[in-house]
Structure formats: C-alpha cells, structure tokens
C-alpha cells in the first residue's frame, strides 16, 4: 500500500501514530482487566479485533486524499442523516432508555459515533465556502442549520453525551474559522438561557446524573455510587498502582461499566499516578499534534477538519477523565481508543487517519 521510501518517512506523523498505537495497546490490556472476571475473554478478543481493524482503517484513510471528501460532501451529509434516521426507525433501545443502535446483518452499528466525523467533514466545507463571510451573527444561521439536523437527531436518540460533543466540535471549528469572539459569547449566553427549557426535556436518568454530580451522597446506590466508587478506585491506586489485574475495586466489580465509560478508573487504580499520568500525556500529545497539524495544513479545509477532530478528541478525553475524577458530570461518552466498543474505535481510527492524511499532504513551503 505504501512504499516506505524517503517521502513516506518525511511526511508521516510518527509521534501521533505511535502515541495512538500505545493507547490502543493499553486499551486491550485494561479492557481485559476490567471484564475478564465476569465475562472471560469475550470483550478482550473483540477489542483486539477492533484495534487491528482500526489500524487498517487509519492507513486506508491516509491513502485517500482528504480533498476527495470535498467532492462527496453532499453525499456524506445525506448518508449521515439517513443513518441517524435509521436508528430512530429500527434502532434497539439500550438499558438506560436511549436508542443508539442499528443492525447491519449481525453487526451492531452506532451511527451517532460515525456521525461526528461525517459532520466535521461537511461542516468544514461549509465554513470554507463562507470564509470571511461570517461577520454578522445572522451569518451563522446556515451553519446552525447544517449541524442542527444531525445534532437534533442525536438528541432524539437520547444520546446527550454525543450531542455535547457536537457542541464542542462546533465551537472549536467556529473559533478557528475566525468567527468573532463576541458571537461565540452570544452563543454561550443563548445556551445558558435555554438551559431551563432543556432541563424539562431531559430523561429522568439524565436529570439524576446531573443532580448526583452536584451531590453524590443523594443517590448512593445509583448514579452517586458510580462517582464514589470511581474516586475510591483512582485514589486507592496511589502513586504506583496496585498492579494490572490486581485492582480490588475493579476485580470485585465495585466499578460500574468498567470496560467502557469508567475504564480510566481501572487504569488509575491499577497503574497509579505514574501510569495514568502517562495515559494523560499520550492524549495530550494527540491533541497537541492535532493543533500543530491544523497549523500546517495546506488549505483551510484541512485546517478545519483537523481542528474539528481535535476538538472532538479533546472534549471526549476531558469529559470522560473528568467524570472518572469526579469533576465532570456523568454523560456516558467513551475514552477515545481506550474504552471498549467497535463503532467508537472505528470512528476514532477514521478521525486519526484524517489527521495523518492532512499532515501527510501539508504545505511544503511556509510563507
């Protein structure tokens, strides 16, 4: 597929790739640790398959010039919406009351995951077309409309976490696209203003999570239990941790959803400050490289795709780790490349492939 010639070595972002690979290898280990006590090899083997598949996806994405997506923008947008509508039409409901899945034959798909990348790609094109034309606040309305449809469909699925990711992506991309800061501030103000209305639309379990975030003692058996147990797990890991496969909080199953949403708690317990600090560092490298790549992209389309993806990763990491540490409310979004799950893994691989892609075709001469 690639000839490992000088051109490849010069253009490939090894730092970004190996940081990600390291996270994915850690993922296999900690998914195994988090799930083997109860489910044997099931999650471990599947995660291994996802990781191998993800690496393939990254290289395939790298191969296609990202400007190809420019041409297919309309098609991508329609596919995005069709998939999200399919969830509402034929989706399966999860145990928490949200409907996020559709089945393509025997394969379960979570379109809201893929939707994030699709939306980044199409929104990037829209913003490029509107470059230097976003002066008034009302100029932003077509942008809101563009993102509003997939955003609304994700909300209808009851997937609040992913909806928040959309907002993070929107802010990141608008900011870098040069939208006036006062417009962004207006947007924040509007968001705060509609908060009470949004509250009424939240499902009971979502309200509970927010109340519990403020006061975990209120619901010690339910959502509050998760926060308390996660903090005990991470805190008891100390500086060096209890050793992989040796976390009592994890192995005794005090930790809820330990192989998916709360995997960072397992890492914190088993490899301590040192280990989980390294994990945070790896994520920081990814985000740092993401910003750098945006800065060196050869065109505005590349800049915006890179920053959309970086915003997405950034929000995921901050929210997920913050939740495990008890400084963010529980929304149930996974830790990129680390949490168990095929749809998320492939979405992240696709995103990372795009970053590598943009860097690979960066501008050669700076002016």
């Amino acid at each position: 597929m690639f000839t490992l010639d000088r051109k490849f070595f010069k253009n490939f972002d090894f730092t970004l790739f190996f940081s990600t690979l390291a996270l994915m290898i850690l993922s296999i280990i900690f998914v195994a640790s988090a799930s083997s006590a109860k489910s044997g090899n099931y999650y471990f083997t599947r995660q291994l398959v996802w990781v191998v598949g993800a690496v393939v996806v990254m290289f395939v994405t790298l191969k296609i010039d990202y400007n190809t997506f420019w041409k297919f923008s309309r098609l991508i947008y329609l596919a995005n919406i069709a998939l999200l509508l399919a969830v509402l039409a034929v989706g399966r409901t999860s145990k928490y009351g949200g409907t996020h899945w559709i089945w393509i034959g025997p394969i379960p798909l979570q379109p809201s995951e893929f939707s994030k990348v699709f939306t980044i790609l199409t929104l990037a094109k829209l913003l490029v077309q509107k470059e230097n034309k976003l002066n008034k606040f009302s100029d932003l309305f077509p942008v809101f409309f563009h993102i509003g449809i997939p955003f609304g469909l994700v909300i209808l699925q009851g997937d609040l976490g992913t909806a928040l990711v959309f907002i993070a992506i929107l802010f990141g991309m608008l900011f870098v696209a040069g939208v006036k800061v006062k417009h962004l501030a207006t947007l924040v103000g509007a968001g705060v203003a509609v908060m009470p209305v949004v509250w009424n639309f939240l499902k009971d379990y979502q309200k509970k999570r927010l109340i519990v975030f403020i006061n975990p003692e209120m619901d010690k058996l339910g959502a509050g239990w998760n926060i308390i147990q996660s903090k005990i797990a991470i805190g008891s890991g100390g500086i060096l941790g209890k050793g992989i496969f040796a976390g009592s909080q994890n192995r005794l199953e005090f930790l809820p959803e330990s192989h998916t949403d709360f995997i960072f708690s397992v890492i914190g317990e088993e490899v301590g400050f040192l280990g989980s600090g390294i994990v945070l560092l790896l994520f920081f490298i990814i985000i740092w490289r993401g910003i750098k790549i945006a800065g060196r992209a050869k065109d505005m389309y590349g800049v915006l795709i890179a920053i959309g993806i970086t915003s997405m990763f950034f929000f995921h990491v901050f929210e997920n780790v913050g939740m495990a540490l008890g400084i963010m409310p529980i929304t149930g979004i996974p830790l990129p490349f680390v949490s168990y799950g095929g749809s998320a893994m492939f979405t992240n691989a696709l995103s990372l492939g795009l970053l590598l892609n943009i860097y690979f075709r960066r501008q050669k001469i700076r002016f």
Partner: protein, 618 residues
C-alpha cells in the same frame, strides 16, 4: 482570514488544552498522591455491600374492592462471601443441611444469579420459622448468611380465576433478555408475572426495587447502614371481575361436572365468561381446571410442579380465550340474522320439520327424530330446530352468513389484554379454498352439505368462549361489539388513578333492530317452559334470554354450550358457558349460567339441586 489571525487562534486553542490537562493532572495527583492513603483504606475496607430490597408487588382487587392478590411477609436466606473461600464453602455445606438442599443446588443458584461480589445471593425464599430459628442458633458457624424478610405473593382464593390473575416466578434468562431488549429495567432474581394479569400488567405491578448500602465487618456483621432507598410498591390494579360472579361461575362448573359425572365421566374441563352487556367489562372469566396460584409464589416442591405440568387436563390452558371450539346451535342466531337481512326468511313464515331435511340425496336430521312439525323462526330458536336453519342457510348462502358472523366479532381476536388469545375460524367458500391449499380440507369446493352443517354451528366453525359472550352481548345491546375490558382502574402510590377503563366499541353490526328483536324473542322462548333451557331456568325470577348448543366432538362426548343474557328486556349481563364433553347444552351448560345470573342479581338459590332434565337432550 489572515494567516496571523489563524495562528493566534490556534495558539489560544493550545493554551486551553494545556490548562485542561493541567487541571486533570492536578486532580489526579490530588486523589492519588495527597488523598491516596485515605482512599486506600476505603478500598481495602470496602466491605460495603448492596442489599437489594424487592418492592412489594401491587395489590389486585375485584371491581368492588375485594382483595384478590395480596402480599405476605416471608423469610429469605441469602449468602455473601466475606471470609475465605474454604470458610465460605463450609458455610454453604452447613446451610444446605439446615435448609434441606444439596450443595450442588446452592452452587447452581450462585452460578445462576451471577451477582457482583458485594451483593448477597438469595439461596431460599419463603423459609419457615423453625428453619430460621435453627440458622439463628448456629449463627457463629454461618458467617455471611443473611436472613431477611421479603414480601411474597399471596392469593387468598387459591385457584380462583387462575387464568385471569396468573402467577409469578423468578425471571428466567429468556425473559430477561427480552425485557432488556425492550429497554426495561429488570435484573436477575427479579420476580416477574408469568401468566394472566400478573404477566400482562407486570410493569404496573412490579414497583421499583430499593436497596440498602451497608458496611459489614470481617465477620459479616452489620456495622452501619449508609444509605437506603425504600422500595416503591407496585401500582394497585382494580379488575372488572366481580368476585361473587366469578365464584358462582367456577363453583357452577365444578358442581355440574360432578352432577353429570356418571353420564359424562370426561366432563372435567370447561369455561365461563360473563360480560357487562353495555360496556364490555368482563365480570367473570373462568377456565377449569386451574391450580393454586400460591404454589408458585413460595417454595414449591418438584412433585407439586410436576403434578401441574403433567396434568392431562392442561391446567395452564385458558380455555375461555385460548381454545376455540365449534359453537353448535349457539350459532343459529347468526344464521337467522343473515337470512333476515337478506330477506330470505320472514318472521311469519312457517317451516315444516318432519325430522329430516334432504340436501340433494343426503339426509340431514333434526336432533328430534320425530321432527317439530310446523315451526316459525322464533319456535325454531326455542326448540333449536335444525330444519329451520338448514332451509334458511340454503336460501341465504354461506358467504352472507360468514359476513354476519364476522360483524358480530366471531373469528377474530377480541383484544382482551390477557396473553394467548386464539383467533378461531369463520368458514366460507374463500376459507375452504385457502384451507385446501394448505392441505386442511379434502376439497376446495364448498358443498351445499357444508352450508347445512355450518347453519347449525357444526362443521368447521371454531370460536372461543369470549367471542361467543361478546356476540351474545351484541345481540342483547343492539349490535355493539365491544372490546372486552378486564382492568377497571390502575391506582398509583399517591392514590392517583393513572388508568380508568372506558368502554371501546370495536364495531357495530349492521342489523336492523326489528330483526334483532325477533332473535331476542326466540332466545327468550328458549328459557321459557318448553324451550331447550326451560327446565334449567324454571322458577327463575328474572326473565333470561339464551341459546343452548351441543357441539359434535369427534374425540369424545359432545361439548355443551349455553349463551345468554339477562334481564331479557333490559339486558345487563351476558354469559357464555362451555362444558367440554358435557353432553348437551340444556343439561350441562345452562344450569351453570343460572348460577352466574343468581350471583349477579343476588338471588338466593332456593333449590339445592340444579334442575336437571336429562330427557331434554337437544
């Protein structure tokens, strides 16, 4: 945009990222380095246990507020591994001895429940006080054994309305999978309804489980309760069933089966449905035999379970809605209505019954060999004379009769909420063609003989008792076909009604009131002196209208039917009675309906014995 501005904004982005990661790292350090020791103690001493507390299921009442399903407190025994593996195994062995169950059974329970290690595993429910005392006495050697009380389902009337109420049991893997896919909150170990109202209203009845978060010491003794969520009891359900009518129906069935047992020893099963004529509310729904519902709620021995599972009379089967039977002569009103509507018969026309009717060269006989002589339509219903209906059917044709049957809701599910309703069959020419293709019938052509058979409810008709009671109610109320209602109201824990029954008319049969009046006149004659149910209702103070039926049964004695309503001139209640292999509708079914009417109208049954007239065989 200027490259400079872009670079500035990317720089701001980078600074935000640095700040965010510093924040996370600081928090991580705070938890792990500064508070590390504290949390380590918490984790090591994490002898916090979650003890689930099942919610009491909602109470179920009859329409007058009489308790039909309640709860009683019972002891349960659970175990939790706190000590070493060996000590725990010893504890289990010892506990097994006291409870009288083997170690394998306990291991099986533990495996089944697959609980998280800080949740206790329930080993036995409904344990008697003597056994509990024994466990308490030996507490020292039984570390990790927890005795708790929990509410257990209680059915004060035992097997009454078995199929309406239903029983409960622990959720099985298949049910759990199904509920999870529907996105419902169910867990391993939950008690779930398996039949009847318990099943179809499970989500109303089950309530919300609670739990206690407790801290235990090394020996498993409770140190403190750190949090408790009080379980919310399930919603209360008020049925449309009237206890005394239900009892009358069931006792009536048992009584008649006993009385006729010498002549008809196979009459051991049957069904009764009683319906409010003007609302479709089900006042009684009985299917015999049933079984004591309490058996499933507590500890059931394998022998008791086998007895029910292997009973050849199939007590799980709800004969009132899940089995379809040929209706016999109870179908004759439909044949007559079809004829009246098509104008092929008038009320004043007289037919001559010589005892035999020829379709081509085939003789079709009246049940009375000597014939009824000269009869009109009303007499035909009164005496259940076959000849009249053969002739009407020949003139009318099967397809018009079938249309009328469907207009009265026959051959379709009534929509009652109970699970497992059968659809039944309205035979006509089209049906026979389809049936031939499927290999059910020998011929695709509908013969005139088929029409003759169908006219009197024999042949290929198959209807459920609930369909027939609905048809009867429709005849009584002017053609309104109701959806049967079984739930009168649902009341939540705040005493608020979350559901209130409202009558639902599925359709209106397009029959003229004059035609219906003729049928009703005939049905009134049935229960009068000389009618086929005359002796069964002799001396009954309220005028009843009805129709007897005797359905030929290839596998044994004939099935006995009676459908009717009362009072004849101001109908309130309709009843359908089926006694399988009961011989004849006049003797085996009509007396049961009398018992139901007695209960409904609060009439003292002054005769100890039912009026049985074995000569009036239809």
């Amino acid at each position: 945009m200027l490259v400079k501005e872009l670079e500035k904004r990317l720089k701001v982005f980078g600074i935000i990222a640095i700040i965010a990661f510093c924040l996370l790292t600081t928090r991580l350090g705070y938890l792990q380095i500064i508070k590390g020791e504290e949390y380590k103690d918490l984790a090591e001493g994490n002898r916090i246990r979650l003890i689930p507390q099942p919610a009491p299921r909602g109470l179920v009442f009859d329409r007058n507020g009489v308790l039909l399903i309640g709860n009683r407190p019972a002891f349960s025994v659970s175990v939790m591994q706190i000590t070493s593996k060996e000590d725990f195994e010893n504890t289990l062995l010892k506990l097994g001895e006291i409870l009288g169950i083997t170690k394998e059974e306990i291991d099986e329970r533990i495996k089944q429940q697959n609980r998280r290690s800080f949740e206790p595993i329930k080993i036995a429910t409904d344990v008697d006080l003597t056994t509990i005392t024994k466990i308490e006495e030996q507490k020292v050697g039984l570390t990790g054994v927890i005795i708790d009380t929990e509410p257990i389902r209680y059915y004060p009337y035992k097997d009454l309305a078995t199929h309406v109420l239903g029983y409960v049991g622990e959720i099985n893997a298949k049910e759990l999978e199904k509920k999870k896919q529907e996105g419902k909150d169910y867990q391993i170990g939950d008690i779930i309804g398996k039949m009847g109202i318990e099943q179809c209203l499970d989500e109303e009845l089950k309530g919300v489980r609670g739990g206690k978060r407790v801290e235990v010491d090394v020996k498993g003794n409770l140190i403190s309760t750190q949090g408790e969520v009080i379980p919310t009891p399930g919603n209360q359900v008020k049925l449309t069933i009237d206890l005394k009518v239900q009892q009358a129906a069931e006792n009536g069935l048992v009584e008649i089966m006993d009385t006729i047992s010498r002549q008809y020893p196979n009459a051991k099963t049957g069904a009764v449905v009683a319906m409010d004529v003007n609302t479709g509310e089900i006042l009684a729904l009985a299917s015999k035999p049933g079984f004591d519902l309490n058996l499933f709620a507590g500890r059931m021995t394998p022998e008791q379970l086998n007895e029910i599972n292997n009973n050849p009379l199939k007590p799980y089967n709800n004969r009132a809605i899940s089995s379809a039977y040929p209706p016999g002569s109870t179908f004759k009103p439909i044949t007559a209505l079809a004829g009246l509507r098509k104008g092929t018969v008038t009320p004043n026309e007289y037919f001559y019954d010589s005892g035999v009717y020829y379709v081509g060269r085939h003789p079709f006989r009246c049940w009375k060999r000597t014939g009824h002589g000269s009869v009109n339509l009303v007499d035909g219903l009164k005496h259940s004379c076959n000849i009249v209906f053969y002739e009407i059917a020949m003139r009318t044709g099967i397809d018009d009769i079938a249309v009328m049957a469907r207009e009265f809701g026959l051959g379709e599910k009534t929509g009652i909420i109970l699970p497992g309703e059968a659809q039944g069959i309205v035979p006509d020419t089209k049906w026979k063609e389809e049936a031939y293709k499927k290999g059910i019938t020998r011929y695709a052509t509908w013969f005139k003989g088929d029409t003759a058979n169908a006219a009197i409810g024999q042949g290929d008709h198959l209807y459920t008792p609930i369909q027939l009671v609905r048809m009867t109610a429709a005849i009584a109320n002017g053609g309104k076909v109701f959806e049967p209602q079984l739930v009168s109201a649902i009341i939540d824990n705040n005493g608020q009604e979350t559901f209130r029954m409202s009558p639902k008319i599925v359709k209106q049969a397009s029959v003229s009131q004059e035609h219906l009046a003729i049928i009703r006149q005939g049905m009134k004659a049935v229960t009068s002196e000389g009618g086929t149910a005359g002796s069964a209702f002799r001396g009954f103070p309220i005028q009843v209208a009805g129709k007897t039926g005797t359905a030929q049964n290839a596998h044994g004695d004939n099935h006995a039917w009676f459908v009717g309503y009362a009072p004849a001139d101001n109908p309130q209640i309709a009843v359908a009675v089926l006694v399988e292999q009961g011989g004849s509708g006049s003797t085996a079914a009509a007396p049961v309906a009398r018992r139901v009417f007695e209960a409904f109208f609060n009439i003292q049954s002054d005769q100890a014995e039912l009026n049985l007239d074995f000569n009036a065989v239809e």
